[in-house]
């Protein structure tokens, strides 16, 4: 299979839901292109299992790295600078899970990329993003689109990025 976009995070924990919201917007933009969009809620093995079978994976998640809230970064998955939910306290981090999966001969993506959005608040229950993070949605959507579908015209991203809804596919 081709490319998968994974929205990672917790949709009821304020800015921790940014990955889920970006994925929802990207899903609309990528409809019919063959790029799949899924959601994931924890890192480690679960995340590795979610991206197995695809050739490329783009994971979008919140970051808490001390940058200004709303900062968007595109980073290689194994570059050491992680995002918030790559690690699962129950079984370890994505890098370890990927190494394990490769050793076991699972069909894992050749390329795993991350798009991180710096969060303002990840400790308060709520379904809305904080202001700075909401304002960064178009930029985050554009970064995910550039990584997942490099050839596509990114026109009209602003509208899609602010569309609501976080439907779940499984």
């Amino acid at each position: 299979m081709g490319t998968v976009v994974v929205g990672l995070g917790n949709p009821i924990l304020t800015d921790d839901g940014v990955g889920i919201k970006v994925a929802a917007a990207v899903r609309e933009l990528l409809a019919g292109t063959g790029v799949e969009v899924v959601e994931a809620y924890s890192g480690g093995l679960r995340l590795m299992e979610a991206i197995s079978g695809y050739r490329r994976a783009v994971i979008v998640d919140a970051m808490t790295g001390g940058l200004p809230p709303g900062t968007v970064l595109r980073i290689g998955a194994l570059e050491g600078r992680g995002t918030r939910n790559l690690h699962s306290s129950h079984d370890g981090d994505l890098a370890g899970a990927l190494r394990l999966g490769r050793e076991l001969g699972l069909n894992l993506p050749e390329l795993v990329e991350l798009v991180g959005v710096e969060a303002g608040d990840v400790e308060t229950f709520g379904e809305e993003l904080s202001e700075a993070v909401r304002a960064a949605l178009p930029k985050a959507v554009a970064a995910v689109m550039a990584a997942a579908a490099p050839g596509m015209d990114p026109g009209g991203l602003g509208d899609a990025a602010t569309a609501g809804g976080a439907g779940e596919r499984s």
Binding site: G43, L45, S88, G92, S170
Partner: protein
């Protein structure tokens, strides 16, 4: 007091940290961990329709959504006075057993096992699931992944959606399973039983037959004589999905047995001056601080606890393992029951006994002729105003308590999550581990981080619910003298 902190280097996962206070002589006086409490869950829920709760609460945490879904569904049964038909309860329990098999398997191979199979003093780079798999063979690794995949599929089939089940409704279950689906589940359950037996054999060969690990298993460092709590059925056998709460004292005698609905009369929460965490304790015994012994109301709720409160197991192979567990660890008997095992590292073994039980129970339920019944829902009655639902989460008893007005709109929500029960025991274990490593103000760095991590890893804490995740993340230890100046620092990336 001198303070030593163990901090994650990065804030990948919130920011848990372990604080160790030394007294004037440089001995460990107090140890605990601090994790940021998530805020506002009650406000988030109040004003919503109660029936949304099984779908909201399973979002609290990425590790055990199934446990929240189940506790929420049961709380709604009570809130709407609708006792589900037998087949609905069986389907719920079937899904729940599949979840337990996955969770316990993962903990053993990815988190708990490395300390034993690779060794507590091995470099962290090797002490992980990959190290375990390299040692026991790639085929075993493939089995672990296959076990997760087939049970995730069962959860999806029975629960209506993968990861976050949607089938739990007030008074029952929204989705029957077909005969073909049942046959697939039976096949998966049979494989689970075999895999659980294999895992126990592995534990036998790699841990019990190794004198060093065997000693570690009973090590005094991680021994605390606390009260134990777990759900049991009418015959005193552990049940993961339903039962009454039984509490036994450190000497094995029963302190109390109560309906989960009565939790607030049995348990209180204590905030201590040095931490904002709320420590639950047994009201009957009282709060003496974070100490063990029969005079202290500190209790543990974990796989080990569930075995300690049991008269016996409900399935045949798990019963054999249960007996071997207590006999091997040298427990005598009292009143026809085994005396509790207090060594916390034995929790890893207890978890595998439970794994076998969950697999066997799943097979029993899948083979039950009633499991394909379509009679899955009792009609909800008028709102009772209050509903408490309780299941065993893999890491300890989980309670959801909702109150709602006549329209079913929530007015109050209270959750006691699995890990919260074990705050005090975890603090005890961390303190004891630290005491062995720090004496007279001197810190032995060798293996320090892992010895302390082992202390909480055995409880498989999931702080995503209570607070935030806190696993094998990078750690930083800072030792400060009485004035707060840093005198010693260790980092591990």
């Amino acid at each position: 007091m001198t303070r030593i902190s163990i901090d994650p280097i990065t804030r990948l996962e919130g920011h848990g940290k372990i604080e160790i206070f030394l007294d004037a002589a440089g001995e460990v006086a107090e140890a605990f961990f601090q994790v940021p409490e998530l805020r506002g869950f009650e406000q988030f829920c109040v004003g919503r329709m109660a029936e949304e709760m099984p779908l909201i609460t399973n979002r609290i945490c990425g590790v055990c959504p199934e446990a929240h879904h189940m506790a929420a569904s049961k709380a709604l049964d009570a809130l709407f006075a609708a006792d589900p038909p037998p087949a609905a309860k069986k389907l719920r329990e079937l899904l729940y057993c599949a979840f337990f098999v996955t969770d316990h398997t993962t903990h053993f191979y990815a988190l708990g096992g490395p300390d034993f199979i690779i060794g507590p003093d091995a470099p962290p780079a090797e002490r992980n699931m990959l190290g375990v798999i390299r040692k026991v063979g790639l085929d075993v690794g493939k089995e672990v992944i296959a076990c997760r995949a087939r049970n995730h599929q069962v959860i999806k089939t029975v629960g209506g959606r993968s990861i976050h089940p949607v089938a739990g409704i007030p008074g029952g279950w929204s989705r029957p399973i077909s005969h073909a689906e049942r046959d697939e589940i039976v096949a998966s359950a049979r494989k689970n039983v075999e895999f659980a037996r294999f895992t126990l054999k592995l534990f036998d060969d790699l841990v019990l037959k190794n004198p060093v690990y065997r000693e570690l298993l009973g090590s005094e460092t991680y021994t605390h004589r606390t009260y134990y709590m777990g759900l049991v059925d009418g015959e005193g056998r552990p049940n993961l999905y339903d039962g009454t709460v039984r509490v036994v004292s450190p000497d094995g005698s029963e302190l109390s047995r109560y309906h989960p609905d009565q939790y607030a009369e049995q348990i209180a929460e204590r905030v201590v001056p040095w931490s904002y965490l709320k420590f639950p304790y047994l009201k009957k015994v009282g709060w003496q601080g974070v100490v063990d012994g029969p005079g202290s109301g500190v209790y543990t709720a974990s796989p080990l606890s569930r075995l300690n409160v049991a008269d016996k197991m409900a399935t045949p192979l798990a019963q054999q393992e249960f007996e071997r567990f207590f006999d091997t660890l040298g427990s005598g008997r009292t009143g026809g029951r085994y005396l509790p095992v207090h060594s916390r590292l034995a929790t890893h073994w207890a978890r595998l006994v439970e794994l076998l039980y969950a697999a066997e129970r799943m097979l029993e339920l899948a083979l039950d002729p009633e499991i394909t019944s379509t009679d899955l829902r009792a009609k909800p009655g008028p709102v009772t105003g209050r509903g408490v639902g309780c299941v065993e989460a893999p890491r300890g008893i989980l309670t959801h308590h909702y109150e709602a007005d006549q329209r079913g709109v929530l007015t109050r929500v209270n959750l006691i999550v699995g890990t919260t029960n074990n705050y005090a025991p975890m603090a005890l274990s961390i303190k004891k581990a630290a005491s062995r490593i720090i004496t007279g103000g001197k810190v032995v760095e060798e293996g320090m981080l892992n010895r302390i991590e082992m202390a909480f890893r055995l409880y498989d804490p999931c702080l995503s619910c209570a607070t935030h995740a806190f696993g094998k993340m990078p750690l930083k230890v800072t030792v400060r003298d009485a004035s707060g100046a840093v005198v010693h620092e260790v980092e591990r990336g």
